[in-house]
């Protein structure tokens, strides 16, 4: 058994993630209140999207400033389908959103595979600004600026009468999150992940080793977009209304900052970053409203603190907060270690992103 655990990543990850699922579902039902469940759902949704971005940017080295736009495609797929056929099951909506966004990701990826650094960043940034204008123009399909309303999924009857909609949505989001992370964790550790990293670290060497660079980059984009689509679909259920104003440039930029703050290239970092994205405003907002500031000041304290956290984190923890803690731990255990230089990203010395 222990040999099997050490030998097979799949089995080890499977047991780990199964345990995680049970713990999370028990927590949502017996420990968290409705508000916590609401926030935990958001963390799960952002973490799914951020995990996809981690694969793309952290592991494959392609930067995206437009992942909010991909989430929007997922959200609108779900919302439009539900407007046409309100009875379709939720799982089908999630799958449909994954498929459409994955196709969109393939198109962006084919275009993006030729672009490097700031050129790719600029193209994805332009996408993030351009796409939210489409629903406003084609209002008959997408409901214009008002958006489309999405019914909250009702829990199945066998869970009992006391089982709330918040709990059910949290279960769905957490289950989707655990499955996503299980799939990605295996993918990243396997041959595909190695090819992704190879292309990131040295394209010439990757090509010499027989890796099709463009195909690898497009695959990374499709996987990443599929995650964004899943997150977008869940996001639609969570907000209960899909409108262009939910998919601002800020959402796209927040996702990128979250994965870097959490620790670039690590799936755990994507969770840490998403947690910060959700809970920093919750905590700092409570703090700000306790100070009796004017509303102009109080409303913007969370955003200002987030900006400061980003700046300080980049200056003090160049490897992200997760990496920062890791290096503090390592420093504590090896006080007299030979390396006294400040850590920088050793995993991605030539990350071609800007």
């Amino acid at each position: 058994m222990s040999r099997m655990l050490r030998g097979s990543t799949l089995v080890r990850h499977g047991l780990m993630f199964l345990g995680l699922t049970v713990v999370l579902l028990l927590l949502t039902s017996f420990v968290f209140d409705a508000y916590t469940n609401y926030n935990v759902t958001e963390v799960a949704i952002l973490a799914i999207s951020a995990a996809g971005l981690t694969v793309l940017t952290g592991i494959n080295g392609q930067v995206s400033l437009g992942h909010g736009a991909l989430m929007m495609i997922g959200a609108y797929t779900t919302s439009v389908l539900l407007t046409w056929h309100p009875d379709l099951p939720l799982v089908l909506m999630l799958v449909a959103s994954i498929v459409t966004t994955g196709i969109a990701g393939a198109i962006v990826g084919i275009a993006g595979a030729r672009l490097r650094g700031p050129y790719l960043a600029g193209a994805t940034l332009a996408l993030a600004v351009a796409l939210p204008q489409v629903p406003s123009h084609f209002a008959s399909i997408f409901g214009g600026n008002q958006g489309l309303s999405v019914p909250t999924p009702t829990p199945p009857p066998f869970l009992g009468a006391n089982f709330t909609q918040e709990e059910w949505l949290a279960w769905i989001a957490l289950a989707a999150g655990v499955i996503t992370f299980f799939v990605l964790a295996n993918l990243v550790r396997g041959a595909t992940g190695r090819r992704f990293r190879m292309v990131r670290d040295n394209e010439v060497a990757a090509r010499l080793a027989g890796v099709d660079v463009a195909r690898t980059q497009i695959l990374a984009y499709v996987i990443s977009a599929a995650c964004a689509g899943l997150a977008g679909s869940l996001f639609a259920y969570w907000v209960t209304r899909t409108s262009p104003s939910a998919f601002t440039l800020n959402l796209s930029l927040s996702l990128l900052t979250a994965i870097v703050i959490g620790g670039l290239g690590s799936l755990v970092g994507a969770v840490v970053g998403s947690f910060i994205l959700v809970y920093l405003p919750v905590w700092t907002g409570g703090f700000a409203s306790s100070l009796n500031l004017s509303s102009n000041v109080a409303n913007n304290v969370p955003l200002a603190i987030y900006g400061i956290v980003l700046i300080v984190a980049i200056l003090v923890f160049p490897r992200g907060i997760a990496g920062g803690f890791a290096s503090i731990l390592r420093g504590a255990t090896r006080v007299l270690g030979p390396s006294r230089r400040s850590p920088s990203l050793p995993t991605a010395p030539e990350t071609p992103s800007q």
Binding site: P118, Y119, I311, A348, P349, T351
Partner: protein
Amino acid sequence: MRLFVIYTVDGITNGMVYAAVALALVMIWRATRIINYAQGAMAMFTTYIALTVIRHGAPYWVGFVVALAAGMVIGAVTERVLVRPVESRPPLNAVILSLGVLILLEAIAPMLFGGQTQSFPVPVSNIDIVAGTTSLPVAPFGLFTVGAVLVAMLLLFLVFQRTTLGLRMRAAAFNPEIARLLGIRVGRMLTLGWGLAALLGALAGMLAAPSVYLYPSNMDEVLVFGFTGAIIGGLESPVGAVAGAVGVGLALSYVSGYIGADLAPLGGFVILIVVLMLRPQGLFSFGRQRQV
């Protein structure tokens, strides 16, 4: 035909504002290999400073000069204090840093100046010129916009091409190691370069504010369109940046006029993708192609 002329004039006028942003981005890119995503937010901030000065009774021109000076200071301080430590780090760190500055400025602005959308004054009339009985499709402020950006570009060109300081700045950007060996204070040149770029951005902010109004994220789209223009132009070439930005301005104006204002950003995106598919390094970049 008359509509076409109107759209063309509008496109060129907006394009010149994008050109100022594009040129600011290119100056910083050439000197430090960093895209300053906070350029738009810095311009928003300096425009708020100008509005505050004007609201306190000072003439427009005092506000104008204060905004440009404030831009220079913000740019220089940002480079010296925040950007310098990450210059030698992986590029993504600088991206996140500038996004942090962007978020911080957009959060502080409403704290200091109020969050509601404000109108912004123009120094000269914003109503189309009437010659005899026909109304020309251009307003004095449009002419001022184009003229101000052209003058700023000409001054920058003279500084970079005709002065010793400009030569030092070009050397520092071209090869920091050798410039340092020749006794040039490379760090100071970079700080100055960021200051000048932010000054240009502040100019763009002053020129854009009367039409896009003033609110904390008012320059987000202007930054994206300026960046789009800079990329189409190839990021390395100031001439390319200006040409690309004016092209973007024209394209947005035609799409918005003939198809629908909603779709203008999508038009900009499509053009960017088409150009990049044909030339992944932009139109005016003649450097070595990427080799794989």
